[in-house]
């Protein structure tokens, strides 16, 4: 059934594309100017300002996707795998091009979100409520005028919150949104934007989320003749979540420059639903998180040649994990993290087409915990990035060199007594080169390539988790080679408003990969070692077509496809049945992709999205017991916008996982079946 549907769908998509292609020139319908402009904004804003453009979701397109969180939206990018433990409160982390979640840098309004404890940012905790744009960059954002930290990850996601926009003489915008639906979801949010004068605006927003997180899941197995061996349906429990978010920002313009400052506060309590295993019917672990940060940025063009940018941040994160279940080890741990960050970026224009930039960053991290015999680690990081960008006619090139100096200070504590103090230093240089070439002036066709070498530091958990960390760990390196092209065609008066096609082939290697290995006897005895090695060969393809079907009726289709061969080269002697050598690494499908279609007719907006993740294995030991079935979900949403006097009202309804497919992204963490959401938005 599903298979047939997919084929039909494919045929429809193919027919649309094929037929329209021939007809395109014969249907010279005038484009609605507004619609056209919006497309151009998304497509071709500064068509080749960036040496390597990002994958971006923004504005209405982002709004139309059926997404709870930022992680849900990122699934539509090519080259990305989301590790999703299911439900509203489940952990969702991102893996770009199979390099591992720790190699991804996540930037919130220009400054990186840090987690020195485990290096992973749970993007499930970031709501889409106040978000304007999400961009994904492979390598790094190919701009040289940025803090040194922006050069420091193998891949980056930039999350941009909404900037206040005012029409006419209106100085205040209010927005009230209410979302409700499956999983007992109650999710109200409010936002107020105010303009003090033309050079000073601010916004305040708050959101509350409550969900019982309960949903049905189903596991079953069949005999080889197709009859059912066992079939069990149960309710996922202890997945409740309660979260409050408050955010405020102030934006200012100065002569030849701008500045902004913001704060972010998030407070949540959630149940940890745990893995579904035989004969365990209840989980009662709970987690509390409190995250606060405040950050600011100031930027000014001092003269024709020189531009400066300053950034700063303070963050404090609290996490409390409790297991009251007496059938398991009683745990009650608390962790506090602090981060202070300052950065200065200085760009100098040598020639009109030749810029250099020097950025210097300093960062301090501290982790405190109630764990016994804890190391209380401090990390001082100094980053210096020297970057240059040069344009020769249709050839553009950027090169950067990042110098990282890290000083870790920690203690050896045993039974409350401090036995020793340690201080470790590390210095590293890592380069990156990005290139872009437009072979023919007439066509928007560009060839691009990059090379980048970068590392990720072992996290505080890797190094110092009591009895488990290994203080001698080295950094884990990622090398990336990428070659690709992109092509775009904008038509001012055709059936097609625009077409865009990108393709990239890449080869990545991960060396000194930090992985957990057994230490003593008993399964909770692990330690960390630098023994892993992975080679990744991949292809990312994206295509986009915007069509003007009839007056006021526009269709936009996005396709993305990823092929990845991510092989485990850790142990050359582990071959044959049950061997891991050259096996596909855990949870990386060979094939994955997405289709997003959006149709707008006047104030009606319909969005369809499809995600496909092919077969995978839960281990690089690619045997049948570790085999994971492909999964694919179809989501549909519709929204209608209308006005009552001065209030703009938007009503939206979503159906997710229409065909009610029961699937796991991570083994024994079932995902929700069909679910619904209703959204009501007031803007005045």
């Amino acid at each position: 059934m599903l298979k047939r549907f997919t084929i039909t769908l494919l045929a429809i998509v193919a027919c649309c594309l094929g037929l329209q292609a021939q007809d395109a020139n014969d249907v010279p319908l005038g484009l609605d100017t507004l619609q056209y402009l919006e497309n151009v904004v998304v497509y071709g804003r500064k068509p080749y300002a960036e040496v390597i453009p990002a994958q971006t979701l923004a504005g209405k397109k982002l709004e139309g996707l059926n997404s709870h969180s930022i992680a849900d939206a990122i699934r539509y990018f090519s080259g990305v795998q989301v590790k999703d433990y299911g439900g509203v409160g489940g952990i969702k982390t991102i893996d770009i091009r199979s390099m591992g979640t720790n190699h991804l840098g996540v930037f919130y309004d220009g400054i990186q979100l840090g987690n020195a404890q485990n290096g992973q940012i749970d993007l499930g905790k970031f709501s889409l409520d106040n978000i304007e744009e999400i961009s994904l960059y492979n390598g790094q954002k190919s701009e040289i005028f940025q803090p040194a930290r922006d050069f420091g990850s193998a891949g980056t996601v930039y999350i941009k919150t909404r900037r206040p926009k005012f029409s006419g003489e209106k100085n205040d915008n209010f927005n009230i949104t209410m979302r409700t639906g499956s999983f007992g979801l109650a999710n109200p949010s409010v936002r107020w934007e105010h303009r003090f004068n033309h050079n000073l605006t601010m916004s305040l927003s708050a959101e509350y989320t409550y969900a019982t997180g309960q949903y049905h899941f189903r596991y079953r197995k069949k005999f080889s003749d197709g009859t059912i061996a066992w079939d069990t349906t149960a309710v996922r429990k202890n997945g409740d979540v309660q979260a409050f978010r408050a955010e405020g920002a102030i934006f200012g313009n100065i002569k030849d420059g701008k500045w902004n400052a913001k704060f972010y506060y998030y407070d949540s309590e959630r149940g940890i639903p745990g893995a579904i295993v035989n004969n365990v019917w209840m989980n009662s672990q709970r987690q509390w998180d409190r995250n606060f940060f405040t950050q600011g940025s100031w930027q000014k063009q001092l003269n024709e040649k020189f531009e400066i940018m300053l950034n700063g941040k303070y963050a404090r994160d609290f996490m409390h994990y409790n297991n009251p279940d007496t059938t398991l080890m009683l745990i009650d741990n608390k962790f506090w993290q602090d981060e202070i960050y300052i950065s200065s970026s200085n760009k100098y224009t040598i020639l009109p087409d030749w810029d250099v930039n020097l950025s210097v960053d300093y960062k301090w991290n501290y982790l405190n915990s109630t764990l016994a015999n804890f190391s209380y680690p401090h990390r001082h990081t100094t980053l210096v990035a020297l970057a240059t960008a040069r344009t020769w006619h249709r050839f553009k090139c950027q090169a950067s060199l990042l110098y990282t100096m890290i000083n870790d200070r920690y203690k050896t504590v045993y039974q409350g007594e401090t036995l020793a103090h340690h201080s470790k230093w590390m210095h590293k240089f890592t380069p990156a080169v990005f290139m872009n070439y437009q072979p023919m002036q007439r066509y928007d066709f560009y060839l691009r390539a990059f090379y980048k070498r970068i590392f990720r530091m072992p996290t505080f958990n890797d190094l110092f988790y009591t009895d488990m960390g290994n203080a001698n760990l080295r950094p884990e390196y990622a090398n990336q080679f990428d070659f690709g092209f992109w092509y775009q065609r904008l038509c001012e008066d055709g059936f097609f408003a625009g077409l865009k096609f990108t393709a990239d082939a890449y080869y990545n290697t991960i060396t000194d990969k930090i992985i957990a290995v057994p230490s003593g006897r008993g399964q909770y005895r692990w330690t960390m070692m630098n023994i892993g090695k992975v080679k990744i060969l991949g292809v990312d393809v994206t295509a986009r077509a915007t069509m003007h079907v009839a007056r006021d009726f526009n269709v936009d289709i996005n396709l993305s496809y990823t092929y990845q061969k991510a092989q485990d080269y850790t142990d050359p002697e582990s071959t044959g049945y049950g061997g891991t050598y050259k096996g596909q690494i855990a949870y990386i499908p060979w094939h994955s992709g997405s289709v997003v279609g959006r149709a707008t007719w006047r104030d009606l907006d319909i969005n369809y999205s499809f995600i496909y993740v092919g077969e995978r294995y839960s281990l690089s030991d690619n045997i049948i017991i570790n085999h994971q079935q492909p999964w694919y979900t179809h989501d549909l949403s519709a929204s209608y916008t209308f006005s009552i006097s001065k209030t703009k009202l938007k009503v939206a309804a979503e159906v997710n996982n229409i065909f009610n497919q029961y699937y796991d992204v991570i083994i024994n963490y079932p995902m929700p079946g069909r679910n619904y959401k209703l959204i009501l938005k007031f803007d005045f």
Partner: protein, 394 residues
């Protein structure tokens, strides 16, 4: 030009979508691998319980058939195809008593009881966080980490910990008939002269003020009451008696300054008679020999200590062989985990748990210490029991 792009898109998506659609999961058909020549003795077979990594629900049962020389993986799921979620999460011990086989499934909080020959399910005994099992006169005794929770001290000195227990199970009705509180996180137990000896670990308190346990609890079987605590060493794990009533007890150490060790306790003289400064992960007794295996991580040297493959003579109390593997193949064993010795042929079976995730191995060594064969097993192969007439009563 345009058409060209559409075709590329079309082809790519066709590959992605049509190549692999979702299928139903089917019951695993057990894979049988011929590994060696048949052997004929009163031992018919050897069951291997794979623990499966915590949370993976991948504990599986394998069977080595001596009469055919074949090894079969994952026989439980096939013998009990209608059992939802298969065997369970983390198999920690296995034993045969009478006609039934008992598998202690630690994180599924149960003992799975099956027919010892057909592996067909007979029933289950719910015991939370159950660890090890031993049998005596119609009853099974099972250690469990779950006993009363104790709160000590006040305010910042407050310490919460949980005692463990030994559960008594009637092997005919499969009902729990008694419970005796012992020390914290009790692991292996053995029965000598009407008394149960239980190795208490205190493993959950490794960092807490209260620290590890350091005792063996003694339970009088008749009254089913704890009558004594014998201090031995910290963080005990193994507890096996030899035919002379000497208990061979292993301590895990603290993974830092204190390494693992073996202690010999004489139950008759009621005293510790010898300490062996020998790294131990697992051990097994056969005749007058105690086989010891280990490779231990040391936080101090930041590496594995050289592997132990030693034999202690339980009569003379001397280490008689410091390296019973003689062909150098121990270098390929990444994590020696389980061990058992065939009482007739003296063949030694060792499991390699690799990295606790990928498929493990069962490796057979002859009594000359040379490798005979190896076979791929499940995730963390660990616990053995022989199938045969009277073999488990010896």
């Amino acid at each position: 030009m345009k058409n060209y792009f559409y075709y590329i898109i079309l082809i790519l998506f066709s590959i992605a979508l049509l190549d692999s659609c979702r299928e139903d999961d089917v019951i695993y058909f057990p894979e049988t691998v011929p590994i060696t020549q048949p052997e004929y003795s009163s031992i018919e077979g050897l069951y291997v319980l794979n623990e499966g990594c915590m949370g993976w629900n991948q504990s599986t049962l394998d069977y080595y058939d001596y009469t055919t020389g074949q090894y079969t993986i994952n026989i439980y799921a096939y013998s009990n195809p209608t059992q939802p979620m298969e065997l369970g999460d983390v198999g920690n011990d296995i034993g045969i008593y009478g006609s039934k086989m008992y598998m202690v499934i630690n994180c599924s909080n149960k003992i799975e009881v099956v027919d010892k020959k057909t592996v067909k399910r007979v029933g289950q005994i719910d015991i939370p966080n159950c660890r090890f099992i031993k049998f005596h006169k119609g009853y099974a005794y099972v250690t469990s980490y779950v006993g009363p929770v104790v709160l000590e001290g006040m305010g910042s000195d407050e310490d919460v910990y949980q005692l463990g227990a030994v559960f008594k199970v009637d092997t005919t009705t499969l009902e729990v008939v008694g419970k005796c509180v012992v020390g914290r996180q009790p692991d292996e137990l053995d029965i000598v002269d009407g008394k149960i000896y239980v190795a208490n670990s205190g493993g959950y308190s490794q960092g807490a003020k209260i620290g590890y346990e350091n005792t063996v609890s003694v339970i009088d079987i008749e009254s089913f009451k704890e009558i004594e605590r014998i201090p031995i060493a910290i963080n005990l794990l193994g507890c096996k008696s030899d035919k002379r009533g000497i208990l061979w007890i292993s301590s895990r150490g603290d993974y830092n300054g204190t390494p693992s060790k073996i202690y010999a306790y004489d139950t008759q003289k009621r005293r510790l008679i010898k300490t062996f400064d020998l790294r131990v992960g697992n051990m097994c007794i056969n005749g007058d020999s105690l086989y010891v295996i280990s490779n231990e991580w040391s936080n101090i040297s930041q590496g594995y200590t050289p592997g132990t493959y030693a034999i202690i003579n339980t009569k003379t109390l001397e280490i008689v062989n410091e390296q019973f593997i003689t062909d150098g193949t121990e270098a390929r064993i990444r994590k020696p985990y389980g061990i058992i010795v065939n009482p007739f042929t003296k063949d030694i079976y060792i499991t390699d748990a690799t990295n606790y995730l990928d498929s493990g191995k069962v490796i057979c060594y002859g009594d000359d210490g040379k490798k005979k064969w190896e076979v791929v097993a499940g995730q963390i192969p660990a616990h053995f029991v022989f199938l045969g007439e009277n073999i488990n009563e010896q």
